[in-house]
Symmetry: C2
């Protein structure tokens, strides 16, 4: 993996991809699939909607750390498997072909097979709103992956991968943050 400057981490959430969230509860690592995420600022601040209905929520709350790992479209069936069972009964890193690697700043693992991994601290949990606010503290990319298309969920069991690309850097320049 190569280090990704934190001011570019938002670019991995901005397109609205399916995300794997890894946690570690002090005993075991776990991973869940989420799509309800949002960028909150260019400074690697993110939100996700989750709550006690996800087994990972207890670890998020107790350890106040996680990794946002962005899978390529080639991982679709792993992502689905992870998303349709619970860490309550399943050791997901044992069951699915995902390799946990030590992170630099948090106890939750990086996922070797993902395109990008963002190590995050939990800044705040607003339980009333099922809202977890995160701040990236380190980030990594894995350029060697074969499939660089992000995966997008439609919510009904259908998904799309990134297709045609459009370059509009000049038109966007007035609104781009520094260094992007």
């Amino acid at each position: 993996m190569e280090e990704l400057p934190l001011h570019k981490a938002f670019m991995w959430l901005e397109p609205g991809p399916v995300v794997l969230v890894s946690t570690h509860d002090g005993t075991r690592a776990n991973v869940m699939t989420v799509t309800w995420t949002m960028v909150r600022s260019f400074a690697a601040e993110f939100a996700l909607t989750t709550g006690a209905w996800n087994h990972s929520f207890a670890a998020l709350k107790a350890q106040r750390e996680c990794v946002l790992a962005i899978p390529g479209a080639d991982l679709i069936d792993t992502v689905l498997g992870v998303g349709t069972c619970s860490g309550r009964e399943t050791d997901k890193f044992a069951r699915f072909p995902l390799t946990p690697l030590p992170a630099s700043q948090v106890g939750a693992p990086l996922i070797a097979e993902c395109l990008a991994n963002i190590e995050c601290r939990v800044v705040e949990i607003v339980e009333r709103l099922d809202l977890v606010l995160l701040e990236g503290v380190a980030a990594w990319v894995t350029p060697a992956r074969a499939d660089h298309r992000l995966l997008h969920a439609k919510g009904d069991g259908s998904f799309t991968a990134d297709g045609e690309a459009f370059e509009r850097r000049e038109a966007m320049r007035p609104r781009l943050p520094p260094g992007v």
Copy 2:
């Protein structure tokens, strides 16, 4: 436009598309481009990150209504134009080829050229977190549009349109909400 049942409205935000947000301040309609949105529940509850730096924020706060309009990839240059000027100086519905249509429940307009329009009420504004919480109250789709690919922003001036589609309804069935 055809009416879309509200329990399916989340499917238009779940994939993380670029979104147009229309507002009406009582005098004039306005529209902004946003990518920092999130689904909050299957019951057409959404969040967006915005604040006083967007001219539309004043109308959102005063009128407590908006429309989330989802453009197809064919609208990329309109979406960019809307996103790189401000309603402070510009009558965007006059300047860009977007047709405002009366909504059924809110004062903000639907946008005729979009694939879907979700009429929303503002449920809560958490100014401390730059967070606006929305609830869909009516929704519409326009099946006749030629380009049904959603548009995803990378944050650096590049965009992708939806590409390859994957059908995984059977695998997802245990986690699908009723009626989807």
